[in-house]
Amino acid sequence: MNANSKIKVENLNFFYGPKKALNNVSIIIPDKKVTALIGPSGCGKSTFLRTLNRMNDLITSTNIDGKVLIDDVNIYEKNIDIVELRKKVGMIFQKSNPFPKSIYENVAFGPKINGLKEKNILDEIVEISLKKSALWDEVKDDLNKSGLSLSGGQQQRLCIARALAVDPEIILMDEPASALDPISTTKIEDLIFELKNNYTIIIVTHNMQQAARVSDNTAFFYMGDLIEYTSTQKMFTNPELQQTEDYIRGRFG
């Protein structure tokens, strides 16, 4: 983990009401690498992911302390523009959620609400984003078709194109392929492999093989604690801690 750091999390604690969901988590996430977050259900990995673009702000009765520094700026400072933050830190969810609009409008949506009006520039952004998300060849002749008419795997890639259209630097993925068939899953994984050349990607997954395949580094969470964080190669062949070994071997969780 010698690459330049993109995200530095320092002593992060997170509470849902009285319940502590993250316990003093500190981690450095490198730039333009894929970092996988693994752990049993309820371990805090998705909560942690959502702290990275302040998605948890939308949930009432939550509290957070500690620091999340992106490019050395604490995103929990009062003067942070949340819209700008979420442009910089895009997110892909488990269930694809295209808008009930055309494929074109789905991808152009972000740039448009950011004030972009020039048709030729929007066309270019839509094409580039769909190419980056490996969907262009499948939809280029039918951009006016509803996004909802696409298959599950295509919808997920459409959501990735929509996230890429606002030119993010970081992409958060919360189990992005868990509802997809093996072929669509392979496409998403290939896409992640391709995207890491230009983006910092953090992915939550319950699929150990997927974490092993797509990520450079892996963090294992358990009951709100960051237990082990190391290169993916080491994590899945010879982890440092017995607790990690037991989890990846399917002995608990």
């Binding site: 150990m208 093989q209 092993a212 190669q233 080491k234 899945f236 062949t237 010879n238 982890p239 070994e245 990846i248 071997r249 399917g250």
Partner: protein, 227 residues
């Protein structure tokens, strides 16, 4: 209740132990036949070797199925990998035992030359190494495995020493060319047997300590690890 995965692993280990027992028996018969001149012990070895080959096939298929179905990680992955590698080594040990048995028949009338050349000492060391390698695997005994690695150096040293002795014998007495040639081939088999025992122990160390200790001289690295 035993998990599906655990029962598959147990079955794999049981089959490897059964195969190892056959190999142990075959090696023991070949070397005892060589040492005592009782070549009757070396009869029927090929059919025993076919049983070993059948286990070789079975274990390969079991490993393939486990890897495909369970996609194991960490210790489990290393176990299946080491079983695959040890299986290969044991199969070769079986073949070599047959070769030693055949060579024992051809050299049985040269007992004096065999005794003088330390071939039996070398063969006994190799046999002990195979037995210790099998025991170390069954008992996960890493210390025993490491002792086997040390023993291999002694066998290599004996190999060179006996080779030189046999060459000198041939130089001094041309009537000994044929038996000495047999013995040179024999010590090559014994040396390979010791090498396979060593490989089994290296595979066990890989399984238990997650270290690749084979070929320590490559690139100046003492070992490769995923540390």
């Amino acid at each position: 209740m035993q998990s599906h995965f655990t029962s598959e692993i147990e079955s794999l280990k049981t089959n490897l132990i059964k195969m190892a027992s056959l190999v142990d028996e075959l090696v023991d018969n070949a070397i005892t036949g060589l040492a005592t001149g009782n070549v009757g012990l070396c009869k029927g070895m090929k059919s025993r070797d076919r049983e070993i080959d059948a286990y070789d096939n079975l274990i390969q298929v079991q490993c393939e199925n486990i890897l495909a179905i369970f996609q194991p990680f960490a210790t489990d992955l290393r176990f299946v990998m080491s079983v695959l590698m040890i299986n290969n080594q044991l199969e070769r040990c079986g073949d070599i035992a047959v070769n030693i048995g055949q060579r024992a028949k051809k050299t049985s009338s040269y007992k004096e030359l065999i005794d003088e050349s330390k071939v039996i000492d070398m063969a006994n060391r190799a046999r002990k190494m195979v037995q210790s390698a099998i025991d170390s695997f069954i008992q996960n005994d890493i210390q025993l495995a490491k002792q086997v690695l040390v023993s291999d150096d002694e066998v290599d040293k004996l190999n060179k020493e006996i080779f030189n002795f046999l060459v000198n014998k041939m130089k001094s007495d041309s009537t000994l060319i044929e038996p000495c040639s047999h013995l040179i081939i024999l010590i090559k088999h014994i040396e390979r047997l010791a090498d396979h025992a060593t490989n089994i122990c290296e595979n066990l160390i890989f399984y238990i300590e997650a270290k690749v200790v084979s070929h320590p001289k490559i690139s100046g690295k003492e070992s490769s690890t995923n540390d």
